[in-house]
Symmetry: C2
Subunit: 507 residues, 2 copies
């Protein structure tokens, strides 16, 4: 080790001075160092293993492991969401966890600084995906796909300083559904909102409201209020803070940081406090300022059509046209929406959001060919948090396996008989566990069943083996029944069927 | 931009000289540079967006997107594998895609150079996971878990130069099942082999053989043949190549690269060509050299017990004790196994493998507390490749959605009626699609059904709307039936049930 350090020092020194005395050339030194490093690499495992015990054992900042209980809950949530996506005919795709850095550059505005970069190890410059929308747009452009309806559930990465206590992480799941294609106005957009409503219904996180707004209306409103065009995005991002901050603070930001006149800010203030249904659209279509603005009128007409479709989809009572909704991301071009939970006990805020982005795919196409898109992202991490809180409150345990039956023994030296019985049951497609100890205690085995909510235990003793029977025990009621081996599969299937019907099998 | 470069140059220069003339202090310069960089960041999106159209659109080297067809196939394979894991009582966990670099260091021997590192962006030094086993061991040690049976399906990352034509990638799925805990010998080990056999059976990739061997037997054999202890790993890794290279080449590597005498190599050669069943174990237990070696005898006795359990599990005919099996990874300590497909048409080789690693968890524990583990990794990427080849050969299309019925119209101006009907069907839990065009052509709608294997179409016209009926069309047979709206859900449920029973719905 010391030799390597010396050689490295020498190499540095030689470089700095531009002259080398000990070896005849830099390349020769480099070669020697490489050899020694190779040697070191070969010895590394043992050395490093010893070193390992010194560092703190943890997952990287802002990340976490998911325990079996958490995974069971998550898979349950995903399955419910996926079944809604499938009801609406969605396919699924997957993309790599990293992209060429260039793919992500310039898509996220100020947030680009939160992108995780990979180290340049020779080759391409890569970054971890920041969301699933930009990779989706890249996928469409790269494969020249002009229409698709797909969902994508995967982890994304943001080097934020998240408040983990509030359920925010640097690695987290996104759960997206998007419709790409050139279609008639507001039809796919309305289906996206329908999907949000169905998912929140099936997750039983009611009451909720889906706020809707339109980028064109926002732009038109800004224009009508006298905001300079160059300032639209900055003012939009100020409006976006209205869900967390009172108007006075947002106004202060507009005036003091973003240079609006107080008068212009107040005009905006009068609009962004409005929310309602179709009647509000009609009222604004008659508004003195907005009715003269082409963008605003186009936005309002779009919202009107969207609300009509929402009525047909029977979700009007869950949708609110809200002029304060802005959404941060740069790429939205049309309708935007966001679902918020209204229960006062759970302060999770937004649980789904999305909108129309008609220009993103074109950014990846050499000929700037556009593929209009509209989509929704379900805030699954927040839904997980709600579900976890509920489980805790109900003091209910999540079952993490689906084992039907546990093969036990009351006596010693029956390991082979137990394995044989397990094998018979596996061959009959039962879900079976048994103790990996050669001579386990019966009490320990039965306790295992209770702790893991396994509904049935099969108990084998020498006499049972001899007479070709087995004891079937209902773990909850402790009732026992002797069953002939030949009938076991049938009896067990029947018993499990009964449990499922009664709903007494924990799920 | 030029100013930034100049300032940077100046800063560098100032540092190098140790004196600064233009500004009074280094910190002042740094401040100015920071301001300019901020300015640049704010301008970046627009600049970069324009640049985007110039680069080649691709996924990073060695990675790929998964299309809906590929995903449908993959999810199908995963579901089959997961149901086998669940039959054996496994839970599932998840871990972050990256780990502290220290966690991975020293676990993979020479392959450590293939680890993807993240860029140091301030904070922790991170690497992408290389497999699921080391994160699993870290998870156990960190959470002080002394027994668990878990599966984990996730992507792992290796900066290899993979032959993509042979289905190898830098980002690929691993699919692991492991049993951690202190148990009696060979019981969980045998269950792992049973699981491999069940999975390959359910995937219908027969015939296959699961080769088994034991690290202690390998070490004992090397010792008995006269290999110096310090050379065990190197010789083991040479033996590992026997699945791809003939003995003569491996021998050459042993003698010429790894310094064995020809005599010693030949002795090894005589052993590694052996494979068989229990009778081979008994023969080797009487072998003059091996019977004197403690390690070898212990390994042989273990294999004997394992083969006995395999017999009980009814998989003897699929298991072969094979002295040439070595497996590359450093962390194995006991039984090792590997499943190989035998079909001569598909040259995929190993499709599953694993073994016992009793010392890995202890490497993460401050007090070196061990948690013995045994596990299996299913080579899902190879299974995917086999399935894809089969689908191609059979010229069969994979269905990527599960849509039951498509709501069509034969006339114009019925978009609202279609949405209404869709909504009724969604509320009744049917999977429904419809055209997003306001006035689509009937032929186009029916073609869509055929292309996407949607079994039923519902056709609405003005007269149907008026009389409260709808035309139900079987897309395959083209039979049509008029159904009252009030009875629609019931009739449709029945029709779909019949299709499922007949197995005529493509899945």
């Amino acid at each position: 080790m010391r030799l390597i350090r010396e050689l490295r020092g020498l190499l540095k020194h030689g470089r700095a001075l531009g002259t080398i005395n000990l070896f005849s050339s830099k390349s020769q030194i480099a070669e020697e160092v490489a050899k020694l490093l190779d040697l070191k690499a070969q010895q590394a495992p043992a050395e490093d293993a010893a070193a390992n015990q010194k560092f703190t054992l943890k997952t990287p900042k802002g990340t976490r492991d998911y325990s079996p209980e958490q995974m069971a809950l998550r898979l349950n949530v995903f399955n419910k969401i996926i079944s809604v996506f499938k009801k609406h005919g969605a396919e699924t795709i997957d993309t790599p966890v990293f992209e060429l850095k260039e793919v992500l550059t310039g898509k996220y505005g100020e947030d680009s600084k939160l992108i995780y970069d990979l180290k340049d190890q020779g080759g391409e410059i890569l970054s971890l995906r920041y969301d699933l929308t930009v990779p989706f747009a890249r996928y469409l452009a790269m494969n020249k796909i002009s229409n698709i309806k797909r969902y994508h559930i995967a982890k994304v990465y943001r080097r934020d300083n998240p408040s983990i206590s509030r359920g925010r992480y640097r690695e987290f799941y996104q759960c997206d559904f998007d419709i790409a294609g050139t279609y008639d106005p507001m039809i796919p957009d309305a289906e996206c909102i329908k999907i949000i409503a169905e998912i929140l219904d099936v997750m039983q996180v009611t009451p909720f409201v889906v706020k809707v707004n339109h980028r064109l209306l926002l732009d038109g409103m800004f224009e009508a209020c006298g905001v300079p065009k160059s300032n639209f995005r900055a003012i939009c991002s100020a409006v976006d803070k209205l869900d967390k901050s009172p108007w006075e603070e947002v106004k202060k930001e507009m005036v003091e940081e973003k240079g609006l006149s107080e008068d212009v800010a107040d005009k905006i203030g009068n609009y962004v406090k409005l929310n309602g249904q179709l009647e509000l659209v009609d009222k604004l279509l008659l508004d003195e300022n907005l009715s003269k603005n082409k963008c605003a009128v186009e936005g309002l007409e779009s919202i009107k059509l969207l609300l009509k479709y929402c009525e047909i989809f029977d979700i009007s009572n869950k949708v609110s046209f809200d002029l304060s909704l802005a959404r941060g991301l740069d790429y939205y071009t049309g309708v935007i929406y966001e679902a918020v939970l209204l229960g006062d006990d759970i302060a999770v805020g937004s649980v789904a959001g999305g909108g129309r982005y008609d220009n993103l795919v074109g950014m990846f196409d050499g000929k700037n060919k556009q593929v209009p898109c509209v989509g929704v992202s379900i805030g699954v991490e927040r839904l997980f948090a709600v579900m976890e809180q509920r489980l805790q409150a109900a003091n209910r345990k999540t079952r993490t396996t689906e084992v039907d039956v546990y093969v036990c023994t009351a006596q010693k030296n029956l390991v082979e008989e137990r394995l044989k019985l397990c094998n018979e049951l596996w061959d009959n497609e039962f879900k079976v566990e048994f103790s990996y100890k050669k001579n386990p205690k019966l009490l320990a085995q039965l306790q295992y069943c209770e702790e893991n909510s396994i509904p049935y235990a099969l108990i084998l003793g020498e006499s049972e083996v001899k007479s070709g029977i087995v004891k079937l025990r209902n773990v909850t009621t402790r009732e026992e029944l002797e069953v002939k081996r030949g009938n076991l599969a049938e009896v067990l299937r029947q018993k499990l069927g009964e449990l499922n019907c009664n709903g007494t099998v924990p799920t």
